[in-house]
């Protein structure tokens, strides 16, 4: 009967069709890879037993299950079988050993693979796992941005072992991205851009127009980006800026200063070099560059403004990093006279500092532009309200390429890193009417910033994986000492607890336990170079002795670490701890390789000629017991000294005091400078 035959044939056909799925199942690519691996590994094995062990491995999906890390399951090891096997060093992909990192090979079970590399851990096929197939899970982070993975857990600004990420974070902070873009944990971010209230008395219309055209061409250290404004927009904005009301008090100071008689340029030159301005500023490119270039400063700011600013910078910009130098009236005139003579743009037009005659209708248009471009985000954060000007950046690192607007940039690879890099390099190229300015990042910069942005995941990692360096409480006193610390801007270079910039190698958190008070007073009054090889040096702030005493007393009583013994010799005189043996140790351990003592020694560490006058023995002892405890990156070796030996050395250093103002230590000290 034909119907029955048809039924029989179609049943057989249907069975065959059903067999396709189990067949595909049996021929999955990881299975043949695992068989290849067995062969390769057993041929590399050193013993018969281990070769047999490799041969006996079942063909099966391998996975790392991280129950407390978002319940992650990473099956990458199904194909990457040799990642933790030293035997597979140099083997072909995907069987090779993972390169050594702080978390591998020890941390596979704790971190898995996708926590650093991204990609889809659940997948068992290469295109899906790596994210190269359409509609697969999140793609892997390209190797050049791999440090983005570090940044998911390591939240501090600077991450040891991740230089690109750290650089990216530093660049983001310096460029002030968070002023416009909201990111979790950065709500308190404030740009260091100056308030613009005194601008009409500071500079001229021509200069402002030059600056708005391209800030970096005026000052290479400028952090302000280029907004690519049209000449008309520049004109309108300039009129708006010059229409600002200068606060009466500051205007009075500037005008009074402008009327003062000129000072002595020669003395000014001496003062400038003594004050070590280039610890922060640059002069023709030389210096640290965290503050404006000075070589054309006299063609940027009027004499009156410079003088008034120098006398009290914080009155002009409460957020400035610039400390207040205690120059006398005459001395400050001398400094400005020197700046006026030498640090001038001789090619600039004569009227560069001529104030602009304000046209009200242009100024009104300028006001609109000021809002349109979000200038207020940096220059007047208080006026910006709670809403951030730009789109928020939280979770940008987990954005899928499909949800990004590539606009006109059809030339780009449809991937998040390429999109980010292009956004950083030429933000306006995506569509008309975009407002983001360009920051002049070079390829390295944009790679670093992209890395830092890719680290901004949509969800925070679990607490157990989040790593921020332990919080050190910042003790910032109020009252007169607090205002001294404010006025001298100690935190621009020194750290107190977690506050302050990491420029100086000497955090002030436990300074009171470290140095002797009398030395500190002298040092504050006239600081000298302790570490000759560092570029950043303590500026000579011309601090009056009473200020220095007050600060030193405060450091002595507040900034102490209870774990540093005040008297390691337990009441007995230091000489009982056998300083002679300490001296023998000093020579034996090779301390002089880095430290100057008398007339010889290396330049890396601070000189110890006057160690007994400078350092407290309790500190010396605590330091010697483990230098890295105080700062992870110090190069002073941890010799693992016994208590007795550390005490002996501390006792020896305690004997190193200038006996009398004799010639020898004096000469050594000069050598140090």
């Amino acid at each position: 009967m034909p119907l029955r035959r048809l039924f029989a044939i179609s049943s057989v056909l249907f069975l065959l069709v059903l067999a396709i799925s189990p067949a595909k199942n049996a021929l999955r690519s990881y299975r043949s890879l695992q068989r290849q691996y067995r062969k390769l590994a057993s041929s590399r094995a050193h013993s018969l037993k281990s070769a047999q062990g490799y041969e006996a491995r079942p063909v099966a999906i391998q996975q790392i299950w991280l129950r407390d890390f978002e319940n992650r399951v990473d099956r990458c090891t199904t194909c990457h079988l040799g990642v933790a096997d030293p035997l597979m060093a140099g083997a072909p992909r995907p069987f090779d050993l993972h390169p050594g990192t702080p978390h591998t090979p020890g941390g596979f079970d704790r971190f898995g693979c996708t926590s650093c590399h991204g990609g889809q851990g659940l997948a068992t096929t290469q295109p899906d796992a790596h994210g190269s197939s359409v509609d697969a899970g999140p793609p892997m982070t390209p190797p050049v941005f791999i440090e983005a993975g570090c940044g998911r857990c390591h939240l501090s600004d600077s991450v040891a072992g991740a230089p690109v990420l750290s650089r990216g974070r530093a660049l983001i902070a310096r460029a002030g991205c968070y002023a416009c873009h909201a990111v979790r944990g950065q709500d308190a971010f404030r740009s260091e851009a100056p308030p613009l209230a005194t601008l009409p008395l500071k500079t001229g219309g021509a200069w402002v127009k030059r600056w708005l055209k391209d800030p970096k061409s005026v000052d290479p250290n400028a952090t302000m980006p280029n907004f690519h404004l049209t000449d008309q927009a520049i004109d309108e904005l300039s009129h708006f800026l010059f229409a600002a009301q200068v606060p009466k008090e500051l205007a009075g100071r500037i005008e009074a200063a402008a009327a003062e008689p000129p000072g002595s340029s020669a003395n000014g030159k001496k003062l400038v070099s003594e004050s070590r301005c280039i610890t922060c500023h640059t002069v023709e490119g030389k210096g640290k560059g965290s503050a404006p270039e000075l070589s054309k400063i006299a063609s940027t700011a009027s004499r009156g403004w410079l003088l008034a600013f120098l006398r009290e910078p914080q009155a002009f910009n409460p957020r400035t990093a610039m400390p207040r130098y205690h120059f006398s009236e005459t001395e400050s005139r001398d400094v400005v006279a020197f700046l006026e003579d030498e640090f001038r743009d001789f090619d600039a037009p004569k009227d560069i500092l001529e104030p602009l005659r304000v046209n009200q209708s242009l100024a009104e248009n300028g006001r609109k532009l000021f809002r349109l471009y979000g200038c207020f985000s940096c220059h007047d954060p208080a006026g910006s309200g709670s809403e951030k000007f730009g789109p928020e950046l939280d979770g940008i690192g987990d954005k899928r390429a499909q949800s990004l607007d590539f606009g006109r940039r059809t030339d780009l690879v449809r991937a998040l890193p390429a999109w980010l890099a292009a956004k950083l390099e030429s933000p306006r190229s995506f569509a008309d009417g975009l407002k983001m300015p360009s920051y002049g990042f070079n390829a390295d910069d944009s790679r670093a910033v992209t890395t830092a942005l890719l680290a901004l995941g949509a969800q925070g990692v679990p607490d157990r994986y989040r790593y921020a360096p332990p919080q050190k409480p910042a003790l910032l006193p109020g009252g007169p000492v607090g205002s001294l610390i404010q006025s001298y801007r100690c935190l621009s270079c020194h750290q107190i607890g977690d506050r302050g910039a990491d420029v100086s190698t000497a955090p002030l958190t436990y300074e009171g336990s470290k140095v002797k008070r009398d030395w500190l007073v002298d040092y504050l009054v006239l600081s000298y170079t302790l570490r000759p090889i560092l570029e950043e040096r303590m500026p000579v702030l011309r601090m009056p002795r009473e200020d220095a005493t007050q600060l030193a007393d405060a450091l002595e009583s507040f900034y102490v670490d209870p774990s540093i013994l005040a008297d390691p010799f337990a009441g007995r005189p230091a000489s009982d701890a056998d300083p002679a043996e300490g001296q023998r140790l000093y020579v034996g351990l090779g301390c002089r390789g880095c430290h100057i003592l008398g007339s010889s020694g290396g330049y890396y560490g601070p000189p110890l000629t006057e160690a007994g006058k400078r350092l407290k023995p309790g500190w010396t002892y605590a330091w010697l017991k483990g230098p890295q405890r105080w700062r992870a990156d110090v190069r002073c070796p941890d010799y693992g000294l016994s208590d007795t030996d550390a005490l002996r050395l501390a006792a020896y250093l305690e004997t190193l005091v200038p006996v009398a103002p004799s010639a020898k230590p004096e000469k050594a000290a000069r050598g140090v400078r």
Binding site: N25, A123, T124, G137
Partner: protein, 248 residues
């Protein structure tokens, strides 16, 4: 050996009527079987022809059986919770043996069932099979169509991907627009005011328990009624009611 087996008490207790090809025996097989007795004892050969019904009801029935079978298997691998639901899709895709096949079979069978049900209804409509004595079965059929659509819709949310999430957001917002009871229906469906874990659980229970049970119930009635109403009705044979165009 085969004879011994056929003669054994166990075999005879299961296969009571042998395989004899007589009309009486065939009728007995149908009568005495719980599952087959809803089926007409006799089927005219004419009604089995493809052009008679286009087998559309049968296609729908078979795909619903496939859906039940694959659905039960899928339930072994699925947790109606966030975010495990979506991960279970991935597990089916990447780890479960034949998991992708299972899931795709379920999905395609579901499409086929909805499509088949629609065509079946159209066929019945154009063949005027909704008229007495089949008017009751037509109404049962409409209930079955609605149940099928609800099954299809509740299954849509279960993968918990973007498509599912927004599909259900849109769908429940449409329900909200119903006058007076709209808000209430939406709240009831979602177990809250947004598409959340509660909605997932509700849709899961509806999809795997409530709706299939209702479907099976009405399906039995539907098939039973076919027999009671005199078997399937093919194209109407009367030619006394030609369509206007044909008469013109």
């Amino acid at each position: 050996m085969a004879d011994w087996l056929r003669g054994s008490a166990v075999y005879r207790s299961i296969v009571r009527h042998g395989t004899a090809d007589t009309n009486r025996n065939r009728s007995l097989v149908i009568f005495e079987n719980l599952f087959l007795h809803v089926h007409p004892v006799k089927v005219r050969e004419k009604t089995l022809r493809f052009s008679h019904t286009y087998w559309l009801g049968g296609v729908t029935l078979v795909s619903s059986l496939v859906l039940i079978a694959t659905g039960i298997l899928l339930m072994f691998y699925y947790h109606p919770s966030v975010p495990q639901a979506y991960r279970d899709m991935k597990e089916l895709n990447y780890v479960v043996d034949n998991g992708l096949f299972l899931r795709n079979l379920h999905r395609w069978a579901a499409h086929l069932m909805v499509f088949g049900a629609f065509l079946h209804m159209l066929r019945v409509f154009y063949h005027r099979a909704y008229r007495p004595p089949r008017q009751f079965n037509w109404v049962v059929g409409i209930i079955l169509l609605i149940l099928t659509l609800f099954l299809s819709y509740t299954g849509y949310l279960l993968p918990w991907d973007q498509l599912a999430f927004w599909g259900v957001s849109v769908g429940t917002n449409m329900a909200k627009e119903a006058p007076l009871v709209g808000e209430g229906i939406r709240f009831l469906l979602l177990g809250g005011n947004v598409v959340s874990e509660n909605a997932l659980l509700r849709f899961y229970v509806l999809h795997c328990v409530v709706l299939p049970v209702a479907l099976l119930l009405f399906l039995s009635v539907h098939i039973w009624r076919i027999r009671k109403d005199g078997g399937v009705q093919g194209p109407p044979s009367d030619v006394d009611d030609p369509r206007p165009e044909e008469s013109a």
